[in-house]
């Protein structure tokens, strides 16, 4: 009796869940079916998948290039944001709030507002059509996510820890690695994931600065969409879903193992 009423009360939950899954899961199924269907016909075909297999070299080159600048943007963002994040977390006042706002703004500002000008500068600097140029411009728009995550992490560290380590004779580097880094890690990973996604997913900046010469996964995908070849585009899009999911699972495992080894995970 009691069990039945529990089950009855759960029914609305299931309906709710079904609604959410339908709303967000359906599009993924749509991509899958369109990758398996022939153009304008309802027949099943593996054409798109065969094509991608045959073209695996260009396809994998584009993917590797995108993964490369995605991960590099993460590293660049971390390296350039650590010190500013610490300074922002420790300082107070309205002037510092303005500095923080200016440093975070590039992620909020529509990138086209400065990208066309940056493109002109990059032409003069010889950075257009280069992989480094692409990495650089992607760093402009993605580092704020890392900066914000690191500010939040630093705000949770008691400055006394650093003082303690220093008093016990640890140098600046040692203090950073042994005392601060463990606290920063979860935030850095969370911020880094967003940085990676922003860089990996971007189309416009890569296309503008890379000029179609720097291989990129989005630049590989878009022509298929524009020429309405939705089966190949659908198959490629599933890779976009798969890569982040695989990376997040790996990162989650690695972080747990790492923190457990340091005795910090529960």
């Amino acid at each position: 009796m009691c069990e039945r009423s529990a089950r009855a009360s759960r029914r609305p939950d299931v309906v709710r869940l079904a609604l959410i899954i339908a709303l967000f899961g359906l599009p993924v199924i749509m991509l899958l079916t369109s990758s398996l269907s022939a153009r304008g016909a309802a027949t099943l075909t593996l054409r798109a998948w065969r094509y991608l297999f045959a073209e695996r070299r260009t396809f994998l080159t584009a993917l590797a290039s995108s993964l490369g600048y995605g991960f590099s943007a993460m590293v660049v963002a971390f390296a350039s944001s650590v010190l500013p994040a610490k300074a922002l977390a420790r300082a107070h006042g309205s002037r510092i709030a303005v500095v923080e706002a200016i440093l975070l703004a590039p992620a909020l500002l529509p990138s086209i507002t400065f990208a066309i000008g940056v493109h002109q500068l990059f032409i003069r600097a010889g950075l257009v059509d280069t992989w480094i140029g692409v990495l650089l411009v992607l760093s402009f728009v993605s580092y704020p996510y890392m900066l914000r995550a690191l500010i939040a992490s630093y705000e949770s560290i008691d400055p006394a820890y650093e003082q303690c380590a220093r008093n016990l004779g640890a140098g600046a580097l040692r203090t950073f690695v042994r005392v601060e880094l463990p606290f920063l890690l979860p935030g850095a990973v969370a911020g880094g994931s967003v940085v990676f996604l922003v860089a990996f997913s971007d189309y416009f900046l890569v296309f503008l600065i890379g000029g179609g010469i720097v291989p990129a996964f989005t630049s590989y995908l878009v022509p298929f969409i524009r020429s309405a070849d939705y089966s190949i585009a659908g198959a490629l899009s599933l890779v976009f879903l798969l890569v982040p999911v695989v990376l997040f699972v790996l990162q989650d495992r690695a972080l747990t193992v790492l923190l457990r080894r340091r005795g910090m995970a529960v």
Binding site: R10, V14, R16, L17, L19, I20, I21, L23, F24, G25, P27, M30, L31, S34, G40, A42, S80, L83, P84, K86, A87, A97, V99, A101, I102, L103, L104, A105, P106, L108, L109, P110, S111, I112, T113, F114, A115, I116, G117, V118, Q120, L121, L136, F140, L147, L197, F200, S201, D202, F204, T218, L221, V222, I225, Y230, A233, S237, F240, L241, P244
Partner: protein, 273 residues
């Protein structure tokens, strides 16, 4: 004291190149909007672009169209995202992992969101019959699909720490559904919904990828219009393109400032409570 200040200032050096590059990019845009530096020859000066855009119909149309698309997308995303967050809140623990599918649009690149909308609205698509999708409908659907889960993410984060017993207490004390929502839930979900809304607005106002794939060409979103005028017209058209970019930048800055005001007020709010 002053050496402390120097140390604080020098901590920002690693980010200085990025900020300088962006500032230089904006500076370049301003200079070209005035008609200078259009070509590499120093003597070449064109008329400034502002007079042109102030007298041209396309500029106002694109600007208003962009603001309108952004406003509609934001309103729909905030409402839908908040409703989703409220739906998620009631889910029992063991069902929650399945509900994580709501994060899918956050992972997918905009170009893939565009593809989903094209496939969905296309012939034989699920939504094909629903609308003979004009550009605006497709564009707004894409923005809402992408942004609603972002709103959900931020709103749900605060809802998780909301004690549901407050609602029960309110009901026992005779509060109606609307009263409970207005006085208990809204103060909690309002602030994150507002900040998320500003971000969504900025994004839908100025992004390039989605209108590039989905948008109509007339009226066009401002970003697309500027891009086309800059690259696919003669050089004399560039000052006008850059002048509209400057206007776009000013509008965006307004909303960025609004965002930081909201965030600051929220921070102070929690500190005082």
């Amino acid at each position: 004291m002053s050496s402390q200040r120097v140390r604080t200032a020098s901590a920002f050096l690693p980010l200085l190149p990025f900020v300088l590059f962006i500032a230089a990019g904006i500076g370049y845009t301003v200079i070209q909007s005035m008609g200078a530096w259009i070509t590499v020859r120093p003597g070449d000066v064109y008329p400034a672009g502002y007079g042109v855009i102030l007298q041209s119909a396309w500029f106002y149309r694109s600007l208003l169209y962009s603001l309108w698309i952004a406003a509609v997308s934001t309103a729909l995303s905030v409402v839908l995202g908040t409703v989703l967050a409220l739906l998620l809140r009631g889910l029992p623990q063991q069902l929650y992992p399945f509900a994580l599918v709501y994060k899918i649009p956050l992972i997918l690149p905009h170009v893939v969101i565009g593809l989903i909308v094209l496939v969905g609205f296309g012939r034989g698509g699920v939504l094909g019959r629903l609308a003979a999708a004009p550009g605006s409908t497709a564009l707004i659907s894409a923005y809402v699909f992408k942004s609603a889960s972002f709103v959900t993410l931020l709103v749900y984060a605060v809802l998780r720490s909301f004690d549901a017993r407050q609602l029960e207490t309110a009901r026992m004390l005779g509060a109606g559904a609307w009263q409970s929502f207005r006085h208990l839930l809204l103060p909690v979900i309002g602030p994150p919904a507002a900040t998320a809304g500003v971000i969504v607005f900025l994004f839908s106002f100025g992004a390039f990828d989605l209108p590039f794939l989905l948008g109509a060409s007339r009226p066009a979103m401002l970003a697309i219009d500027i891009y086309n005028r800059y690259w696919y017209r003669d050089l004399p058209a560039r000052p006008a393109a850059m002048a509209s970019l400057v206007v776009m930048f000013l509008f965006s800055t307004l909303f960025v400032a609004l965002y930081f005001r909201l965030v600051r007020r929220q921070k102070h709010g929690t500190r005082h409570v």
